[in-house]
């Protein structure tokens, strides 16, 4: 029910955006999210963009995790 899927914003038209998931296009309402631009990724939930995906945070979390699990067991706590 609370399922939301990352979708790429293709264009913005007032209160809606055209978004793409695996090359399939959907319309996303922007009533809940401001400052959306083409190229952004948003989380699409039941026809609404509910939050942006932060590319920097995504990269950093993955990198930190990869470093963490490379350490010897117990060496570093997350």
């Amino acid at each position: 029910m609370c399922l939301a899927i990352p979708a790429k914003v293709i264009s913005v038209n007032g209160e809606t955006a055209l978004v793409s998931i695996e090359d399939v296009e959907y319309t996303a309402s922007l009533l809940l999210l401001d400052d959306v631009n083409p190229g952004d990724f948003i989380m699409l939930h039941a026809g609404f963009a509910i939050q942006k995906v932060d590319a920097d945070e995504a990269a950093e979390t993955l990198q930190l995790l990869q470093e963490e699990v490379k350490n010897r067991p117990g060496e570093t706590a997350l």
Binding site: M1, C2, L3, A4, P6, K8, I21, E22, S29, L31, L32, L33, D34, F41, M43, H45, A46, G47, F48, I50, Q51, K52, V53, D54, A55, E57, A58, E60, T61, L62, L65, Q66, E68, V69, K70, P73, G74, A77, L78
Partner: protein, 359 residues
């Protein structure tokens, strides 16, 4: 697929699994309270990657499952009013009420339509000026702002034949209620998309007052395994706190626009949860100034006394006290094709998930 594939990498998942086995010494119970998490845990077989010390249990995270029998029975009553079109998200239609379901009622003669977005209900209202459209509002903080936005759009566009029957609920009171009831939980895997709206402050007192670890998690297997590692590390170190694993989507302050819409349209009320009874201030009621959109204010219906299906232990499963395999109906009298209880209906219900992915 971006932001999905990189969180399904097998070698990374196995590395986290190894790490967990090396850091976990205490026997702990972690509860997830989101149906999306329940699905991910079983779909990707995560319990088999955990040390024997870590046990995962499912809580009341599926909106279809926690909506009480009375809600279904009242929705059925709305559907029998002449010139009413009931609109609903898909799963709800198959939940057995006390005597029938929306699906069966639709086969009779009621006009009941499945929609993907609440905005479709507004379009149906505009296209059918002679009819009244009742939208069945279920879901937690992720979904309730969408309903709020639709109500405000209806007001803006002067649509007077759109009504919401709200069974929207919020998570913090039920999480606290489970702890107070004495369900053994050491930490919560907190719902990612609820938190994308609310931010993280709603969990603060679970950590500070109840001494529980809380990690807000994403929905891919790497996300979930990392969250379990973060919780385990917290508990091992004796430092329970609120942390966010799902940082690419969840901000500390959440989505302020959505929070404002929620506050403008809804106020909290005591609400009934399947299997858990009435929990104080856990439901969302449409505020008085928007009562013209409130189906409960607009229509008067008589609802016969509701009763739970015999032998169904959905309530105990929703509280994490039993698992589906403890139920004598599971997989025999109760299957996804012919469900007895709500937890077998929704794709993210604990029983349906166990049924689909059981080995």
């Amino acid at each position: 697929m971006k932001y999905i594939d990189e969180y399904r990498k097998k070698d990374l998942i196995l590395s986290i699994s190894e790490k967990l086995k090396s850091v976990s010494t205490k026997e702990i119970v972690l509860m997830e309270v989101c149906g999306g998490h329940t699905m991910a845990i079983h779909r990707f077989g995560l319990p088999s990657l955990l040390p024997a010390t870590i046990r995962l249990i499912s809580g009341p995270g599926c909106p279809v499952c926690v909506s009480p029998q009375y809600f279904i029975d009242k929705a059925l009553a709305f559907s029998r009013i002449p010139n009413v079109i009931v609109t609903t998200y898909g799963d709800l239609i198959r939940v057995p009420g006390s005597t029938t379901s929306l699906e069966k009622e639709r086969a009779n003669r009621s006009d009941i339509r499945i929609i993907y977005s609440v905005l479709e209900a507004l379009t149906i209202a505009k296209n059918n000026p002679g009819k009244s459209i009742v939208f069945l509002g279920i879901g937690f903080e992720t979904t309730a702002p969408l309903t709020a936005a639709a109500i405000l759009e209806a007001r803006k566009e002067n649509i007077t034949n759109f009504f919401v029957y709200s069974a929207h609920k919020i998570m913090p009171p039920v999480m606290k209620a489970l702890v107070e009831e004495g369900v053994k939980i050491d930490g919560f895997i907190a719902p990612g998309h609820v938190s994308a709206i609310t931010g993280t402050a709603i969990y603060d007192n679970l950590a500070s007052e109840c001494g529980l670890g809380v990690v807000v998690s994403g929905f891919e297997p790497v996300d979930m395994m990392q969250s379990i590692l973060m919780l385990t590390s917290q508990i091992e170190a004796g430092t329970p706190k609120v942390e966010v694993q799902y940082q690419r989507v969840v901000k500390t302050n959440g989505n302020k626009t959505a929070q404002h819409l929620l506050a403008e349209v809804f106020e909290t009320r005591d609400d009934s949860w399947r299997g858990l009874g009435v929990i104080k201030e856990s439901g969302l009621k449409i505020r008085k100034h928007l009562s013209t959109f409130d189906a409960e204010q607009h229509f008067e219906v008589r609802v016969p006394e509701s009763f739970e299906p015999k032998g169904c232990i959905c309530g105990l499963i929703l509280r994490g006290l039993k698992t589906p395999v403890d139920c004598s109906l599971f997989g025999k009298k109760c299957t996804p094709a012919d469900p007895v209880g709500a937890c077998m209906v929704s794709g993210e219900g604990t029983c349906a998930t166990y049924y689909k992915y059981r080995s």
